[in-house]
């Protein structure tokens, strides 16, 4: 379901040419899918059937909002995770049988804290039976390359985050992988360190000092993708699928301020915020599932964030480019998109062509004072969010005005993975508490109708007064 960008027609063409010119892919995924079977015969689709290939000589960035299955895709391509359907090939051999030579640079570094820097880097060579002397020599060369000369005897916990990730790179490169996978390698680092590491990486790549033929980068940072990648694949979610796949033609180093650069970023935002076209062929939807009301996916945004965004938007005249908003706020898409989605879900905001436009309801919300804001939020939430409406109704119907959280978690579980249900519930609690739709007793894990408590308290006070 790749959507074509009109301005990138040439690039897409370029890609097709390359694929047809007989360059063999290093890793090729054919119709890979990932789903989790539920005990009740439902299945939760994480990634729908997808084709993806990694070619030599390219830096490929896989971009997508959280929950789009980026990391799952990476793990399926490396052989760490088995696809539920479809097959991944490593040079024409199924990945589960091939001698795959890849490395991963992890977000959390995943260094062994009990090994020194040198031992950490040498460990993968040990696994491949390289003799001790050669191991040491190759590891030292790699440490030298990433600028960690003199740190070989240190333990990871003595290093700063940036240096730890350098060790991560050295460990990944020491086995001379054909494809270097990176799973959000810069997102645990501060902005400056990340920028520094990125440019060093590009330098190594450009000079071909890096002993690797292709790089596969998973990220949720759009600018990072445009800055580094030759080719960008954008994933959508629910379930994860490819929204667009295009080449970035600009030669490196790329200037963030250039017209072309912003056009690319803008285009990706547009794709990401466009309302989903009908999900690619939802397989085997059960009749039962369709009859039930489907919960919309609550974006994990805080009410305060929504209010903040709307106020900012109002300041800017009620309409602005999402890309520029993210830039102004120094937000990454994972920070901003949930807030935009949330505002949109509540009817406070509309997304048109990559622009966010405030609605009359949104304007009223942004201009009101806090108590009125809560009222407006409550109305919007009740009319737009099924889960919140159900919780409220259940509380009103029950005589004791309390309902256990598990009741709704069970309902959510039919549709989301366990983890996601938990997060949906957290968001619902945050919204409901803010809107004073209900109260949540964390100790007993129950929802309580706020009025019920007030009444109880009031009754208690009345009683006391009567007694006096």
């Amino acid at each position: 379901m790749a959507e074509k960008s009109p301005m990138r027609e040439a690039d897409t063409l370029n890609e097709t040419l390359m694929q047809n010119s007989g360059v063999e892919a290093i890793i090729r995924a054919e119709k890979v899918e990932k789903y989790y079977a539920q005990p009740n015969e439902n299945r939760i689709q994480v990634i729908s059937a997808t084709d993806l290939a990694i070619y030599p000589g390219e830096i490929l960035a896989l971009l997508g909002p959280s929950g789009s299955g980026k990391s799952t895709m990476l793990r399926m391509l490396t052989g760490l995770s088995t696809p539920s359907a479809g097959e991944v090939y490593w040079h024409d051999k199924p990945v589960s049988q091939a001698e795959v030579n890849v490395s991963i640079v992890f977000q959390s570094f995943a260094l062994f804290p009990w090994l020194t820097v040198l031992e950490n880097v040498a460990a993968p060579l040990q696994a491949r039976g390289v003799p001790a002397d050669e191991r040491r020599e190759r590891s030292m060369r790699m440490l030298d390359m990433v600028g960690l000369d003199g740190f070989e005897g240190a333990y990871p916990k003595e290093l700063s985050g940036g240096m730890k990730q350098r060790v991560g790179f050295a460990r990944a490169l020491v086995v001379e992988p054909e494809v270097l996978f990176m799973d959000e390698p810069f997102s645990a680092l501060d902005v400056l360190t990340a920028e520094n590491l990125r440019s060093e990486l590009l330098e190594l790549w450009a000079k071909k000092t890096m002993p690797t033929r292709a790089v596969f980068l998973v990220t949720h940072n759009i600018e990072e993708a445009v800055l580094l990648a030759d080719r960008i694949v954008v994933l959508g979610r629910n379930p994860g699928r490819i929204r667009t796949d295009f080449r970035v033609g600009t030669p490196r180093p790329r200037d963030r301020k250039s017209e072309q650069f912003t056009q690319y970023v803008d285009y990706i935002y547009k794709v990401l915020t466009q309302p989903d076209t009908a999900p690619a062929a939802v397989p085997e939807v059960r009749a039962r599932e369709q009859k039930q009301p489907r919960y919309q996916m609550l974006p994990h945004a805080r009410p305060g964030g929504i209010a903040g965004l709307l106020e900012l938007l109002l300041d800017k005249g009620g309409r602005d480019d999402i890309y520029r908003l993210a830039d102004d706020l120094a937000f990454e898409i994972d920070d901003l998109l949930p807030i935009v989605d949330g505002s949109q879900l509540l009817g406070f905001l509309r997304v048109e062509e990559g622009d966010a436009a405030i609605t009359p309801a949104g304007t009223e919300f942004a201009e009101s004072e806090i108590l009125r804001q809560k009222e407006l939020f409550r109305d919007a939430a009740q009319s737009n969010v099924l889960l919140l409406r159900q919780i409220r109704r259940a509380l009103e119907t029950k005589s004791d005005h309390t309902v256990p959280e598990d009741f709704f978690l069970d309902l959510l579980d039919e549709q989301f993975s366990e983890e996601e249900s938990q997060r949906q519930m957290e968001t619902a609690v945050a919204w409901g508490r803010y809107a004073e739709l209900f109260d949540y007793d964390a100790g007993r894990r129950r929802f309580v109708l706020p009025d019920a408590q007030d009444e109880e308290a009031a009754a208690g006070e009345d009683g006391r007064e009567d007694g006096q």
Binding site: R75, L80, S81, S103, A127
Partner: protein
């Protein structure tokens, strides 16, 4: 400063296995019990020598040596078994729920009640009598030590961060390399701390079970426990005191020479991203490290051993592919496995039937006696806990809030907790006999001896962990004493208090077996209680009573754990956790 980490089981509080598995495990345990008894009885036809114990102080080092060797063998066996068990449980999805349910029940059963059948079985299995009894005692200590080690190793394996496992997989580590570079280091700290608890429990059991009577047979092994008991029996105070002195000395020496260096050394396995300020220091370890030979030799030998193994493994087919993390080992169920399962089930069914048949000899008065005993022991254990908490909470808080005092008292309390209460019990008994009192108070006092120290050092640790800014807030707003306790101190120490109470509760139940029934000189002291029933049944060789009493005690411990402690634990982990 040493702080006891929360019990490992707290990480697996969610009960995820169905009830029938519990039932199955319980049946298997029953069957095993019966199997052990019947083989024991069947084979017991040879005379068993009672080793005479000299009360001379010069003989003490030899006895100490015997006891230590027993401990060491039992501990090594436990460690090896625990690692194997934990490893299989963590990686075999099919066996996992069964193995964990088994662990849960087995670690609730007081070991001491298993003493007679275990010894009987071992004596008969091994023709050399001495070895047979020795193995019986060792096996008993082993059963007391192994479960928490296994649990610790299992939870460590289950909590290895995902990305670490993935790194090991993507770099194609062999199982061997993964074990030594990821799994063992990750589990090391938990294993060290649980070893301390295990060995303390081991001493407790060892002192008790080197001498015992069953039916008309006496069993006695040369060792510190039998030395102390002989001294008690003959009323030799000098020998008694030197015996206890030897036990304390060994415990202190173990702490200083083994545990402290181990804790300091295992610090490097701490899974932390930033180096913490507080570290455990051990002069012994520093000394070892300073020595040029001892400092580097182990490592050199280690690499020399590892190198060829790793090289060979790297060439194997296994090491050439990336193994997926989300796939259990081949889920195929082979017919042999099924047959094995059926056989085990049949044996369990038959065994438990036999056990039930044996229970038919129990008469109503017997049952009444047991029920009364259960109630009495229940009250005794819980009053011991309450009394411990009543004095240790104020004392522990006072000590913990005074850092200088805490630094002195904390290690002492910890050592006191490791000194087996069984060693002090004879002194207490002699004292009680002189006073002419019964065992009623004595048994509670004995439980106190064993339990209070766990609570004390946990409370101290808890009080020390209350953040100073919270204390400042309390001072700033001029909290009344009542407010200070209910709003700050009690919630602050709650998780630690629960940890201490859980450990103490297990210890108290175990202690009840020996606290309620005792021989001094020619008298038998006894109170109503389950523990007393177990001992009396052992003395008279009534296996049915022994079995039923053990079932009762296990049921009570398991129920208490499920209904009370586990809930309190969850509360401690959710509501009263001080997050930084």
């Amino acid at each position: 400063m040493r702080l006891i980490p929360p019990l490992t089981r707290s990480r697996v509080t969610v009960r995820s296995w169905p009830f029938f598995i519990d039932l199955g495990i319980a049946l298997c345990a029953l069957a095993a019990f019966f199997a052990v008894i019947s083989t024991g009885v069947y084979w017991l036809s040879k005379p068993v020598p009672v080793v005479a114990i000299s009360s001379s102080i010069h003989a003490l080092p030899v006895y100490a040596f015997y006891s230590i060797v027993r401990m060491a063998i039992a501990y090594c066996l436990s460690l090896a078994f625990a690692i194997t068990y934990g490893y299989i449980a963590a990686y075999n999805r099919r066996l996992e729920p069964w193995m964990i349910a088994a662990l849960d029940i087995l670690q609730s059963i007081p070991v001491l009640s298993f003493l007679p059948p275990v010894v009987l079985a071992m004596v008969s299995l091994i023709p050399g009598h001495q070895l047979g009894i020795e193995m019986g005692v060792i096996l008993l200590i082993f059963t007391g030590q192994v479960w928490n080690l296994a649990f610790s190793f299992y939870t460590s394996l289950k909590t290895i961060p995902r990305e670490m496992t993935e790194a090991a997989r993507i770099y194609r580590y062999s199982g061997w390399q993964r074990f030594w570079q990821l799994e063992m280091p990750y589990a090391a700290i938990g294993l060290v701390w649980n070893s301390i608890v295990s060995v303390a429990g081991g001493w407790f059991a060892l002192i008790f079970c080197e001498t015992f009577t069953m039916g008309d047979r006496n069993f006695q092994l040369p060792g510190l426990g039998s030395y102390i008991q002989t001294a008690t029996f003959s009323g030799d105070v000098r020998a008694l005191i030197s015996g206890i002195g030897a036990v304390v000395l060994i415990v202190v020496a173990t702490d200083q020479l083994i545990w402290r260096p181990l804790i300091a050394w295992s610090d490097k396995f701490k899974f932390e991203q930033v180096e913490s300020a507080e570290r455990v220091t051990s002069p012994i370890l520093t000394l070892l490290r300073r020595s040029a030979f001892l400092g580097t030799a182990p490592e050199r030998i280690w690499t020399a051993v590892q190198e060829p193994i790793m090289r060979r493994l790297a060439r194997s087919r296994e090491a050439r592919v990336v193994h997926p993390v989300d796939q259990a080992q081949s889920g195929r169920s082979s017919p042999t496995l099924w047959m094995l399962a059926v056989a085990v089930l049949a044996a369990a069914g038959w065994g438990s039937l036999q056990a039930f048949a044996m229970l038919r000899t129990i008469t109503w008065p017997d049952l009444k006696l047991l029920l009364e005993g259960a109630a009495a022991t229940f009250l005794r254990v819980n009053s011991a806990l309450l009394i411990s908490a009543a004095w240790t909470v104020p004392a522990g808080v006072a000590i913990g809030l005074n850092p200088r005092l805490a630094r002195i008292v904390q290690p002492i309390a910890q050592i006191m907790a490791s000194v087996p209460a069984t060693a002090f019990f004879p002194v207490l008994l002699i004292f009680l006999v002189r006073l002419g009192g019964g065992l009623g108070i004595g048994s509670i006092a004995l439980m106190l001896l064993g339990t209070q120290w766990y609570i004390l050092f946990n409370v101290i640790a808890g009080a020390m962990s209350i953040p100073s800014d919270l204390r400042e807030v309390a001072a700033l707003f001029r909290f009344t004493r009542w407010q200070r306790w209910t709003r700050l101190i009690l919630p602050g120490i709650f998780p630690y208090l629960i940890t201490g109470m859980v450990t103490a509760s297990g210890g108290a139940w175990n202690a009840s077996v020996m606290a309620e029934y005792s021989h001094v000189k020619d008298r038998t002291l006894e109170v109503i209680g389950l523990g007393a029933q177990i001992d009396a049944a052992t003395d008279s060789g009534r296996f049915a009573m022994l079995l039923l009493a053990t079932i009762f005690i296990s049921l009570m411990v398991v129920t208490m754990n499920r209904l009370v402690w586990r809930r309190l634990y969850r509360l401690a982990e959710t509501r009263f956790k001080l997050e930084t």
